[in-house]
């Protein structure tokens, strides 16, 4: 059962589509041979930054981290959170990894920095994994 990320708008977002699983061999004469192991890209990454959000919202993100990791589930994003403000459906689908078979999981715990009474900065890092069928 996927867990929706809380409806909190990020102030920064960084996405990397990942690479194709392959091994590259380079001979002494410079000839390159590439062994491709799959047709799908893997290990896409997404970083979301939240500036001066309420402490209650920061707690929602921490709770989402616990919910997702307690049963090794995955996170989904929507235009209410991770993909808000994206002006292209195609790009939004990349950010959501819609149809790619990749599933977003936390690559590390969220980092919470208190900035002012009742306000926090939170940064989250995700990695998209290709699960076995």
């Amino acid at each position: 059962m996927p867990h929706s990320f809380p409806s909190i708008k990020p102030s920064s977002r960084s996405y990397n589509p990942g690479e194709y699983p392959q091994t590259k061999f380079e001979a002494q004469n410079g000839v390159k041979t590439i062994m491709r192991y799959g047709k799908n890209r893997v290990n896409a990454t997404l970083q979301l930054g939240f500036s001066n959000i309420s402490d209650a919202d920061a707690a929602l993100i921490l709770a989402n981290y616990e919910d997702v990791n307690s049963d090794w589930d995955y996170v989904t994003f929507s235009s209410a959170n991770g993909t808000v403000g994206v002006g292209s459906t195609s790009l939004s689908n990349y950010f959501k990894e819609a149809g790619s078979g990749l599933k977003w999981r936390y690559s590390g715990p969220p980092n919470v920095t208190s900035t002012f009474k009742g306000l926090s900065n939170v940064s989250c890092s995700f990695v998209a994994c290709l699960d076995s069928p």
Binding site: K9, P10, S11, S12, R13, F50, S51, N52, I53, V84, G85, V86, T115, F116, L119
Partner: protein, 147 residues
Amino acid sequence: MAKYFSGKDGKLYVGGTNVAQLQNWSFSQSMSVLEITAMGDTDRTLKPGVRSYSGSARAYYYTATAAGAPNVTDLLTAAIKSSGTESDKVTLKLRLEEVSGSDTNARDIEFGAYVTSVSMSSSVGEISSVDFSFEVDGAPSVDTIST
């Protein structure tokens, strides 16, 4: 009664004592803001941050009696210390008087502050003055100047 205020109505008290021969005082308030603009927003959005207050004053250096303490002694002794001694916090009250020489309807703002700079000079043909700058510690304890 309608009234404009001028320098004639201004006073500065240090620890409850009026500073004589005051030339001017100034006071300013500022506040930092925390930006909460998020993806999808088209306009900058803010949360209120930390307020701060500071100001300055200038007084002639004046003694009321022979060998007496100067009019600015409380400010000078709070700021100028021997080695190893911390500066003192002083209680400042800036006042605009509605009735001359009276507390009636006086507009006050009072706070604890540290004197952060002192500047004195002496020149031929001029009366010596002392300039002070201060930074307020915390929020004002009395504010009848705003209301």
